[in-house]
Symmetry: C2
Subunit: 337 residues, 2 copies
DNA sequence: AGCATCCATGTGACCGTGCACATCGAGGAG
DNA sequence: CTCCTCGATGTGCACGGTCACATGGATGCT
């Protein structure tokens, strides 16, 4: 069902030239849409291309131009909902601009691994790299790396400095915290993400800002690892404590696990305790009780990243985007006190 | 922060040769681990490579060999948990074998789009393609396409014919249906996946086989679209009916939505009705009640696909794998009658 | 000793493009 | 009428590897 052995030689630009009765360079000009080609000649060449079913050889082109029409995606994530959605959007946006995509997942976030990965992509002569590096460390390493190709970093610090772009996590976290406060909660616990993660920090910052502005004292946050399992165990533990009436989990998975843990400990949600999450994963609306959370447009983020990167590559001025504003999804897991 | 304009010329194989005092061909031999190289010479060359921080140019190599050391991933999915997990595993496995990855998502599943996508990947001279084509149609188009490079298809018909590989969906579906039967249910409804999907068909087959072997009559299945939202609306509708005591949803998302719909209609799970799903997504264990489902090792599947494909590319005999056996996860959403 | 063989290495062509430069005819300015 | 410019096209080489073949020396066999 395959013919890997004797692959017939594909027609080259010279074959097309011969058939069309022109020089190979003229064919090249037609392919690259050079203005100074007589329409009649162009037509002859296009016919020849059609007849031979000619396709330009990307490797040869990459060799000659030292550009590959390929964008690299460097991902330090492990299948979380957000990054995954963004990646899909990046792929589609890049393909729409006739760029191929080369994906590379970081095995770990050591500086060595990052450096190795970047060099690998450069070696593949990608024209630009989109980095999904939610961890502070990765971001810093990249800054210091003086990467020799343009790159854009997604899901990073909200202080967008031209090479990074993200949704306004701080605003989203602040929004949902203020929502809890409006519901009458004053003792709100934050179940945060891992220390090193930029999103974890941003969301915690939003929480802290909201609490401070409302003159409420905060409880020391718990550090989680984004997983539902962690949320579950945390819920069982936390059920013993009585120093809070609401929990803001830094992502939906932990929130869902948390509700499970609370439930197993005999607590009712939201009657005994309110729980909110962040991300609005597809099941969030359907768990029991439906989870109040913050929706983010990860796809839009991915599309923007590609636009920013392409502008850099082409030497255009960077497109200006407004912030990606998260949207509050009030559902039933949080109730007024 | 970038230097797209004046990219310094990278050191070439000839630069290395000059520094090491050998011919460029000797350098090439070292790079390709040719046996007939004096250890001492090899060392000198490797030193030169290190000094210059030389990296082979993949485009040049691809041009010369007409192989790109790149695997294409052709995906017709939209972020479902299973395929996403498999893709990540494929990427990692391929990278581990020193293959780069080029991803291409199908915008739709028309024969034209599929043909275009395959040609695009071939044009990028990928050495092989892993197809994630859960739809029957895509699979058939591919069969007829006489693709000129080796390819492996994942998540397809269980009758593995050497170019496709998948978990034994039929067995998994049969397993969970039999589980329901053992719990005392005899009126079991199946909430199936979309018509065209291979997995939907396999899971329905498993269900039908189990029912037939147990001499139980079946209720005409409902066709869903894999989403939790569909499950929710289906649940609200189905709550009126009383001709079944258990529902087997073809995936977890629909099962979770279904439970939500039933709940809203005032039914208790599993007291009034049992619900089971398929896939074991990460939240399945934490919804209320925890969902009884079937776990599949999508990552293993991805890894195997790469092995099969590489064997084809290298002309080795195809590796023999036992079936990927799904595992039943008995939790609380299904109870004995 | 003579010759075949093999090891270690070098030489030049070639893969399919794009780029810089050359060429040639037509048309406009002086 | 001549010169210059510009449009349309051709020529040769560079890009950075690999491949087929050549070379020269050491070794083994008769």
């Amino acid at each position: 069902m395959s013919s890997s052995s004797e692959r017939a030689r594909m027609p080259s630009i010279r074959d097309v030239a011969r058939l069309a009765g022109v020089s190979h360079q003229t064919v090249s000009r037609v392919l690259n849409e050079h203005p100074s080609i007589r329409p009649e000649t162009k037509e002859r060449v296009l016919d020849a291309i059609r007849v031979l079913d000619y396709r330009p050889n990307v490797a040869a082109r990459a060799l000659a131009t030292s550009r590959s029409n390929t964008l690299g995606i460097l991902s330090a994530t492990t299948g979380e909902f957000g990054p995954t959605s963004s990646i899909a959007a990046i792929e589609d946006a890049a393909r729409a601009e006739r760029y191929a995509i080369s994906t590379l997942n970081l095995p770990d976030t050591t500086p060595e691994a990052i450096g190795h990965a970047v060099r690998q992509l450069v070696r593949e002569s990608v024209d630009g790299i989109v980095v999904l590096a939610p961890q502070v460390r990765v971001f810093n390493v990249l800054r210091g790396l003086a990467v020799s190709v343009p790159f854009v970093s997604l899901q990073t610090a909200s202080g967008s400095d031209g090479i990074s772009h993200s949704a306004d996590q701080v605003a989203g976290a602040r929004m949902i915290t203020e929502y809890l406060i409006r519901l009458g909660h004053s003792d709100i616990l934050h179940l945060a993400g891992p220390q090193d993660w930029i999103e974890a920090e941003s969301r915690m910052r939003g929480y802290l800002d909201a609490m401070r502005d409302a003159d409420l004292s905060t409880i020391p946050p718990i550090r989680g690892d984004w997983t539902a399992d962690f949320g579950y165990f945390a819920g069982q533990e936390l059920a013993r404590r009585r120093d809070f009436t609401a929990v803001f989990a830094a992502n939906d998975l932990m929130a869902i696990g948390l509700m499970h843990g609370f439930r197993d400990a005999g607590m009712r949600i939201p009657a005994d305790i309110s729980v909110v999450g962040f991300d609005d994963v597809p099941v969030a609306a359907h768990v029991a009780p439906p989870l109040t959370t913050v929706h983010q447009d990860f796809s839009e983020l991915g599309r923007r990243a590609v636009q920013i990167l392409l502008a850099q590559i082409r030497g255009d001025s960077a497109p200006v985007f407004g912030p990606v504003v998260p949207v509050l999804c009030g559902r039933e897991s949080a109730a007024s006190r």
